[in-house]
């Protein structure tokens, strides 16, 4: 059944992008509405290398990572000069710059894009749709592992400190500028890698696959699931990615539906479905606390705020 494998690969690629976006938006607190541009850059570099220079899939992967990395370093450096709202606008602009780039530069094949990207092979065996699905899942697992690891490091706690209060973070000695750039570069490297896999999976890349809309969809997935958490990024991608497949009629109104969901989420559950203060997570946490307090006698804490903030 090729259909399920194709859907799985697509949804998994979205999950990778959403988890990688979370490093910038969720951990570091920087607005980023241009992740699709880096995804596209990775895809285009891989496609061009494979088709024009006969570079193998396995060498295209590191090339796309490197491209994402360099582009992310540049964006990170730019981000330092911009206040939050201007950074958001700048990242929106990136999407349009990227499309012009893909359309106008001959290396990238113009508005026709690049097609007939050869199927990758491993030890003489050509990739099947199932192999792509498995490769995407493997890449998602690696992305989740990297993301969770970063969150457990000293670097990771500094990123979250920067998100909460940049000035206080600098006051305790955090290298704010360097860490912001690093967060962007890590995130866009992963997006570039996902792009390479996407190019070989689709066997064709066209400029309009990587527009602003896709960036918004990726951010919407993260916000639906819960910004700042890996589980939220994955679940949000699964829901929004699978929805057009599960409900056929939605696919004609995909953006309209996503927009409506986003508005409802922001109004009623701004932490996202599984974010740290969402109803689901709070209920779970309370249940756990109840279990604990029945075992240990609770004592009133004099350092905790009582009543409304």
């Amino acid at each position: 059944m090729t259909y399920y494998e194709v859907v799985t690969t697509t949804v998994t690629l979205y999950a990778i992008l959403s988890v990688s976006l979370n490093i910038v938006v969720g951990y570091t607190g920087q607005p980023h509405l241009g992740q699709a541009a880096f995804f596209g850059l990775g895809a285009y570099v891989a496609a061009a290398l494979a088709v024009r220079h006969g570079v193998s899939f396995w060498l295209c992967l590191p090339a796309s990572v490197a491209t994402g990395l360099v582009a992310g370093l540049v964006l990170g450096a730019i981000s330092l000069r911009l206040r939050e709202d201007f950074l958001a606008v700048t990242t929106i602009g990136l999407n349009f710059v990227a499309i012009v780039f893909f359309e106008k530069i001959p290396f990238f094949g113009g508005s026709m894009g690049i097609y007939a990207i050869p199927l990758p092979s491993l030890a003489g065996h050509q990739f099947t749709p199932l192999d792509f699905a498995l490769a995407a899942i493997a890449l998602l697992i690696v992305t989740i592992a990297i993301s969770a690891y970063v969150d457990s490091t000293w670097f990771g706690v500094s990123l979250r400190a920067i998100k909460d209060d940049e000035l206080a973070a600098a006051s305790v000695g955090a290298p704010v500028a360097r860490y912001k750039i690093a967060a962007f570069a890590l995130s866009t490297s992963i997006a570039g890698l996902a792009g390479a896999l996407y190019a070989f999976f689709m066997s064709v890349v066209t400029p309009d696959s990587f527009g602003f809309t896709e960036s918004v969809v990726i951010l919407a997935m993260l916000m639906l699931g819960g910004v700042g958490t890996i589980r939220g990024a994955v679940v949000g991608a699964a829901i929004l990615g699978a929805m057009p497949e599960l409900f056929r009629f939605i696919s004609n109104y995909r953006l309209l539906t996503f927009g409506a969901i986003l508005v409802l989420i922001l109004r009623f559950q701004p932490q996202g479905l599984l974010g740290d203060d969402s109803a689901v997570v709070l209920a779970l946490r309370q249940a756990i606390t109840r279990l604990r307090t029945t075992r240990h006698s609770a004592h009133p804490d004099t350092l905790i705020r009582h009543g409304p903030a």
């Binding site: 690891y149 457990s152 490091t153 000293w154 670097f155 990771g156 706690v157 500094s158 979250r160 400190a161 998100k163 909460d164 209060d165 000035l167 206080a168 973070a169 600098a170 006051s171 305790v172 000695g173 955090a174 290298p175 704010v176 700042g228 740290d276 804490d301 004099t302 350092l303 905790i304 705020r305 009582h306």
Partner: protein, 252 residues
């Protein structure tokens, strides 16, 4: 040579003189209090020392080295840590993570910031010490945004101490904590001092500041009005006129 020298520092925002030729020196191991009425420029002076504002004129030196244009991080890594008058916790992080975020930039240079936090035994010990000292151990896993003002003040101090600073800038640590909190806070500050940390304290509660300090500097309208022994400053008629005359009763 004094540990900290503020040398003829002026700071101007457009036409507003926030600080005018302020001189101040803090000897190694001392506890110096800066007092003055609201708007006197106390917090602004801290912001200049900590690297948030670059002085329009004058210099700030730490151990003889100019720190006037090093920025917040640059000043902090040289051993100057501060607390904020209005607490600025990393609100989504737990109390322990707040202190870890402050420990992170101060670990040994050979230890990678890409190492997991749990596998650094030294840092774990230091974290436990800091939480113990500031009596935050019982709420270590609570989100810092849930702390009340007393808890937040302690967290500010724990974070500032994380890098084992040579100079600690305390910005109104007693503000808002109520009469019950004053005595434990004074004990905490004395304990920090005993450890060898030099302290510069900005305080609105005069009685509290005078009881701790060995030198007092009085600011008024961005200028230094008086300086000296707490008892002498307390009796200085200019100081009484500017400030103490209206405030002593409330402060004691």
């Amino acid at each position: 040579m004094a540990l900290l020298e503020v040398d003829h520092v002026s700071l101007r925002f457009g036409g507003l003189y926030a600080l005018t030729e302020v001189d101040l020196s803090v000897e190694d191991g001392a506890l110096v209090a800066v007092i003055g009425p609201n708007g006197a420029g106390k917090t602004t002076l801290f912001n200049v020392i900590a690297g948030r504002f670059k002085p329009t004129a004058g210099d700030v030196r730490l151990n003889g080295r100019s720190i006037r244009s090093l920025g917040l991080r640059g000043v902090n890594v040289l051993g100057v840590a501060r607390t904020f008058q209005i607490a600025r916790p990393f609100g989504s992080l737990s109390v322990a993570q707040n202190v870890q975020a402050a420990l992170a930039p101060h670990r040994d240079a050979h230890r990678s910031s890409l190492a997991p936090r749990w596998c650094d035994a030294d840092a774990r010990r230091r974290l436990a010490e800091l939480l113990e000292l500031t009596e935050l151990a019982s709420v270590a896993d609570r989100r810092s945004g849930e702390l009340n003002i007393g808890g937040l003040r302690r967290l500010e101090i724990a974070r500032a101490l994380a890098g084992d600073p040579t100079l600690l800038l305390l910005d109104e640590p007693a503000a808002g904590i109520g009469a019950d909190g004053i005595r434990p806070l004074a004990e905490l500050i004395r304990a920090i001092r005993k450890h060898g940390t030099t302290i510069l304290l900005v305080e609105h509660y005069v009685g509290f500041a005078l009881s701790l300090a060995d030198k007092v500097v009085v600011l008024d309208e961005g200028r230094k009005l008086a300086e000296g022994d707490p008892e002498v400053v307390r009796r200085d008629p200019r100081v009484i006129a500017a400030y103490l005359g209206t405030d002593t009763v409330e402060a004691q």
